[in-house]
């Protein structure tokens, strides 16, 4: 494009005016209500942009309905297909596994129990590499210790201090809380005072270290106290070429001998959680139970006391966020580039002193529209999807209302950050195609590479820390628990950054792109 050569005086005047305007713009701030209204009017009166935004919302909701509606699960009870049982729920509202062998008695009011774990052993059935024999050994989170539990009901509140297979002494309560204890300890003690339970550990039974004090809300006066043993399945994970992973779980069992039990027996015995789902071999080969001789008690058990993760994650219903994001990217980019294509940008910049304000107003409009669209779409998709999944017999991991709100707002924030990034890329390149492709290349490509089992786990984690795709962490509803062995990889929906940090990365990129766009807009001719 050729421009008439300006008279030097005119150029000087022009730059002086420009300077005055910039100072003026600074005084009045980057956000100007009139400019904002002008940009909003442009947005809402162009049919394509409104249609694109509506299409993004519909896409997100439609994909949730499609995926949830097409998903049916039933459990087999022998040869009969039956509805899957409801997931046991812990005091925190999470789905839990609560299965262990328990030598217990009543504890009324305050009191303590002290034991020494004299020995701990176990078996693991058919582990890799050959999967051909039963070997002696303990999985890392096999647990043997003492526990105070409200009742024998599955999911009842508890606090426990335990020796683990390979992780030393830990204190845990209410399925999700875990505190490591001192190294080398074998003596364990629990002390109840009201609804406060304190766990202690010691290497010699003389010098004790308090691990933690937890409060079990509403603990009745009479509770169960005693020794327990449990042992979770041995896991190995292989990749699925279609995405995600295939987890193999193998039966394990642990035994522990407790001595110096003070105060001593007698003990009632129960298998909390029952032995539902166990094969006959697993039940009788070396039966779970309790044996007492002299002052020592040997408990054998299998199962786990932990949060449960092997059910449908609620954020499956938000799969449409990524495709919806692509549509919003196109809308946000063309919101800028269409002005360049039509030459309208010159009129816009003429009408608005301070170019930064135009860009700021456009960013606010694009970001706000994406946020509002995301909020509506994610809220409907999550609610509808969860309802349809449950109706299809799927076990959906429950999350608190607060988590649901966090995920929905997070999805909306992710869409807003990406829309602003796309808009800034549009202002930078001024070409719709380049900006759309660039936005997809920095947001959707890394996310797909990381979550669709294409890259190795480690590379996938790096991508989700360093690229604008980090914000997808906001969609993760179920946290990773260090005390539960699972495949915590992006391919299985576990992000390396916490939700707020991931969103911060995405917004950081949006701010950076916007800053570059601002510099370009101020320096270059329109």
């Amino acid at each position: 494009m050729s421009r008439p050569a300006a008279h030097p005086d005119a150029m000087n005047r022009g730059s002086m005016n420009q300077g005055a305007m910039n100072r003026d713009a600074l005084r009045r701030g980057l956000i100007d209500r009139a400019v904002l209204r002008a940009e909003w009017t442009k947005f809402r009166t162009v049919r394509g942009w409104v249609a694109g935004t509506v299409a993004a919302v519909l896409l997100i909701v439609a994909l949730a309905m499609l995926l949830a509606g097409g998903s049916h699960t039933s459990c087999s009870n022998g040869p009969v297909e039956v509805a899957c049982p409801a997931l046991p729920i812990g005091p925190g509202g999470q789905a839990v596994t609560d299965r262990f062998y328990f030598a217990h008695r009543e504890l009324t009011g305050d009191g303590t129990l002290t034991v020494r774990v004299a020995s701990m052993s176990g078996i693991i059935t058919y582990p890799p590499p050959d999967h051909d024999e039963i070997v002696p050994g303990l999985v890392p989170w096999a647990k043997a210790g003492i526990i105070v539990k409200q009742s024998l009901r599955v999911g009842a509140p508890y606090a426990a201090v335990m020796l683990t297979g390979k992780q030393g002494v830990h204190m845990q309560d209410d399925f999700v809380h875990d505190t490591p204890g001192p190294a080398g300890a074998r003596w364990l003690r629990l002390a109840r005072s009201g609804d406060a339970i304190t766990g202690y550990a010691s290497a010699d039974g003389i010098r004790w270290t308090a691990i933690d004090t937890v409060r079990l809300q509403g603990l009745p006066r009479t509770v169960r106290i005693g020794m327990f043993v449990t042992s979770p399945s041995d896991l190995s994970v292989s990749r699925n070429s279609l995405g995600g992973s295939i987890t193999q779980a193998r039966f394990t069992q642990a035994s522990a001998t407790f001595d110096h039990v003070t105060p001593g027996g007698p003990w009632s015995r129960d298998e909390v959680g029952g032995h539902e789902g166990m094969t006959d071999w697993e039940r009788y080969h070396r039966a779970n139970g309790v044996s007492e001789s002299g002052g020592t008690v040997t408990v054998t058990g299998t199962g786990d006391i932990a949060p449960r993760m092997d059910a449908v994650k609620p954020e499956v219903s938000l799969t449409g966020v990524a495709p919806g994001l692509i549509v919003l990217v196109v809308v946000a980019v063309t919101f800028v580039t269409a002005e360049y294509r039509r030459g309208l940008i010159r009129t816009t910049l003429l009408a608005t002193p301070g170019r930064g304000r135009v860009l700021a107003a456009k960013a606010v409009v694009a970001g706000a529209v994406a946020f509002a669209a995301g909020l509506v779409a994610a809220a409907v998709a999550l609610a509808l999807g969860t309802k349809m999944l449950t109706a299809g017999g799927n076990q959906v991991l429950p999350v608190s209302a607060l988590t649901e709100v966090r995920v929905v707002v997070g999805a909306a924030a992710l869409l807003a950050a990406c829309a602003v990034t796309a808009l800034a890329l549009g202002a930078l390149s001024r070409r719709g195609m380049v900006a759309v492709t660039a936005a997809i290349a920095v947001i959707i490509v890394p996310w797909t590479l990381a979550t669709a089992s294409i890259l190795p786990d480690e590379a996938a984690r790096w991508l989700l820390c360093l690229t604008p795709a980090a914000g997808f962490a906001a969609l993760q509803a179920i946290p990773a628990y260090p005390q539960v062995v699972a495949h915590y990889a992006p391919a299985d929906g576990y992000y390396p950054l916490p939700p707020w940090a991931g969103l911060a990365v995405s917004f950081g990129y949006a701010a950076l792109a916007l800053a570059f766009a601002l510099v370009r807009l101020r320096r270059a001719d329109a």
Partner: protein, 252 residues
């Protein structure tokens, strides 16, 4: 007819040669593919790693440039109105599109071959750690992955041309041409139903097309390597046919 096609090819080549964007986009195909592949390889593998596939991971990023190249060849003319001059000079619109398709395929293949060679060279010079098996072009499967990846980039560029012809607006075309393959891949990874997942894998241009890069676990793949590339070819042909039809019946 052949004379007209030759003239059309020469005209299109002149347009591509004398504007800076196509050269940049072709360079971007090579740079993005090699760069992303080298980055993925640098993170390392494990003894079970499919090394050729890891080395060619960059195709995932390079395909964005390939699609852009295909779109730009037609949408640039729609944006500037040059398309009317083109159609005035060459009233047979099908010939114009055929010439464009031929050029996109030829140049895309050249860039794709360079990109693949560069990626393999990078992975040979800096092999992935972690006990990943070494790369050897003498291996039949590796050679197939290499040739297939170059063809994949070519077909993606042709797919972009077809979508660009159909949609006209470059930004929307980029959204459609990249969005549809990603949509299918994303849905595929989350569907609960194994059969539906395998079906989506087989019909998705990206998943099926990239099967050609796999050298291990091929038995677990829902589709064979060349058949997978055939799926992408079908998508490209369909896009081109659909776009061509719209170009014929629509006012320029």
């Amino acid at each position: 007819m052949t004379g007209e096609l030759r003239a059309g090819l020469r005209a299109e080549l002149t347009k591509l040669r004398t504007t800076p964007a196509p050269a940049w986009l072709l360079a971007a195909i090579v740079a993005l593919t090699v760069g992303a592949g080298a980055a993925a390889t640098a993170v390392g593998g494990s003894p079970g790693t499919d090394t050729p596939r890891l080395a060619l991971t960059g195709v995932q990023l390079g395909q964005a440039a390939a699609v852009m190249f295909g779109i730009s060849v037609i949408s640039g003319e729609y944006a500037t109105g040059l398309i009317r001059t083109t159609f005035t000079a060459m009233p047979r619109r099908a010939s114009v599109l055929a010439a464009k398709a031929g050029l996109v395929a030829g140049l895309g293949l050249a860039a794709g071959a360079l990109a693949v060679l560069g990626s393999l060279l990078a992975a040979t010079l800096a092999p992935p750690g972690g006990g990943a098996p070494a790369l050897s072009l003498a291996d039949g499967a590796t050679l197939r992955a290499a040739i297939g990846s170059a063809l994949y980039l070519t077909l993606m560029a042709v797919f972009g041309l077809g979508v660009g012809a159909a949609v006209q607006d470059a930004a929307t075309a980029a959204g459609v041409a990249l969005g549809v393959p990603y949509l299918l891949t994303i849905v595929m990874t989350v569907v609960n139903d194994q059969d539906l997942g395998r079906l989506l894998y087989r019909i998705s241009p990206m998943s099926a097309g990239l099967t050609v890069q796999m050298t291990t676990d091929l038995s677990a793949s829902p589709i064979g390597p060349w058949a997978g590339l055939g799926v992408l070819a079908a998508w490209a042909a369909a896009a081109l046919a659909g776009g061509g039809l719209l170009v014929l019946v629509r006012d320029a």
